[in-house]
Amino acid sequence: MTTGILPPPDETGGAIAWLRRNLFATWYDTLLTVVLVVVLGAFAIGAAQWAVTEARWGVVITNLRLFLIGQYPFEEAWRIWLGLTILSALAGLSAGIYGGAVRTLGTWLAAGQAILAGLAFVSALGPIVALALVFNSAVAALGFILGLRRSAWRNGLAVGWLVSLPVVFLLLSGISGTVIPEVGTNVWGGLLLTFVLATVGIVLAFPLGVLLALGRRSGLPAIRVLSTAYIELIRGVPLVTILFMADLILPLFLPGDVRIDRVIRATGGIVLFSAAYVAENVRGGLQAIPTGQVEAAQALGLNAFQSNLFVVLPQALRAVIPANVGLFISLLKDTTLVVIIGLLELLGIGRAVLAQPQWLGAQLEVYVFIAIVFFVLCYTLSQASYRLEASLGVGSR
């Protein structure tokens, strides 16, 4: 008989024991393991062989400019790299100051540009573009180091982000008669367009969705009915329909001399669509907050607005981070649907590239490349969300 405080018994037993327990416990476990290893191994070897020997990756390298920026005029492309410099600087600083999820996003922005720089170097984009992208990565890294333990910069940084998004958009679209002549959004394309649609979509759909969720729970009948009607109407219609509406039908209702840019209309469609889903996610979070929280806030003298802003929403929003990030990931992927109204984002550009006679039959290469890009983007988002949950203590307090 043993007494006193004992260490927990060792239940791992090393790698061999793990293998035996998990893969070779019985004769049919062993059979399954062997068959799966053979099948997966054959697949992996085949894929690797194809990627190294057969695949014509030239289709990606040659058309890298199209994949990255679409038909955006090359002599104006410096504006895109400059815009990225601004975003890299802000992302670097934020990563240093906030850490956590922002650092995941910042790291991705820096690493992504460094990888693209490598591709650009060997492609027709040339060493100067590669240098610009490497410079951006360096700016992000420098910002990160500068931002460490500079929590006093927080407010300035928030203003920086708010100002930078419209500034970058203006930089890209240009003003006629200046050093940055107008570049119609009809020539924006590729990853640039995917990025603009997804970023603007997420940044605008989120606050709109939160407002709709609050509206649906409002004590004022008019606001409640309108919010509910909006949410139910939008959720009853496919995104494709909304994009068609925005592209074809909306102009019919506008006076002839008012023309809204096609990309803006598509973005608007995506925002209006996603906001309804954000609203329902957030409403789920709001319902999970015990009434005692609101009562405590009221008893302290907080008015309805303050109690929502400081007590209810912070708790509700952190509870629905997984659901909302899932929604943002599908928003990112749904941006490919704008191809039906003639906008060539990454996937659309891929199909245009495949129509070039010299690259007939290179579907696999193009789609694998696009799949990798989308996977990296989506995986980054989900990793950032895990970091965000961890830093906010979701599920643990």
Partner: protein, 254 residues
């Protein structure tokens, strides 16, 4: 009613309740409560569950709306006028059975939230005042912890500090020790006793008869939505007049 109405300006006591009625659907849960509380008085309200004592407490800062009668707090009558409600709430602190701390904020942030956002106090000053309150309830070392990292007794003491942060004239306690493990009850009662000693006006719904005997100026027995009996602790404990009071006391005092 008519001539029966009380003019708020002439109410001399800090809390004046007159003929307060409240219904939940068909259920008549408050059936004409008359109760006045003087400044600095400590009143313990007790009674069986469902007797309306918690509901009554919650009508005083209008977490529940009374449907008939008058409630006048420090000369302000509680009506649907939002300004009156806000003003009355700023004079009343409340402590709940389930603590209702804000789980996403640290102890110190819980305490300093209302002074910062309602009183617009600058953060350093609000946190300094918050630390002072946490010292007063005996847990300054828990300031940076989140509610889930504290024991129930510590959480309830943070909740008391949070209610005190708005410098209320009146404190309402709604069964503050009912959700606590037995060994933590005394640390909360100690804080309440200390508060009573400092001259705070207090209304406590509680079954802690030791606390009532030591700290209460008056005890009020609720049953089925009416006040059955009230009096000093000595009289209630030694010579209760009503059968119902006697029966209830014998049940909870064993």
């Amino acid at each position: 009613m008519g001539s029966d109405q009380i003019d708020p300006a002439e109410a001399s006591d800090i809390i004046v309740c007159h003929d307060v009625h409240k219904w939940f659907g068909q259920a008549h849960v408050l059936r004409g409560i008359d109760l006045s509380v003087r400044t600095g008085e400590v009143v313990v309200i007790f009674g069986a569950s469902g007797s309306g004592k918690s509901t009554f407490l919650r009508t005083i800062n209008r977490l529940e709306v009374h449907q008939r009668g008058q409630i006048i707090v420090d000369g302000i009558e509680l009506t649907n006028d939002i300004r009156n409600i806000a003003q009355v709430r700023s004079e009343i602190g409340m402590v709940f059975q389930q603590f209702n701390l804000f789980p996403h904020l640290t102890a110190l942030q819980n305490v300093s939230l209302a002074p910062r956002r309602v009183r617009k106090m600058p953060q350093p000053r609000a946190e300094e005042a918050g630390m002072e309150l946490l010292r007063r309830v005996g847990i300054p070392e828990q300031a940076r912890k989140y509610p889930a990292q504290m024991s129930g007794g510590q959480q309830q003491r943070v909740a008391i500090a949070r209610a005190l942060a708005m410098e209320p004239k009146i404190m309402l306690f709604d069964e503050p020790t009912s959700a606590l493990d037995p060994e933590m009850i005394s640390e909360v009662l100690d804080v309440m006793r200390q508060l009573a000693g400092s001259g705070m006006t207090m209304l406590c719904v509680t079954h802690e008869m030791g606390f009532a005997r030591a700290a209460a100026d008056r005890m009020v027995f609720f049953d089925e939505g009416i006040i059955v009996e009230e009096g000093s602790p000595e009289r209630i404990f030694e010579a209760p007049e009503q059968d119902r009071t006697r029966r209830f006391l014998s049940q909870i005092l064993h």
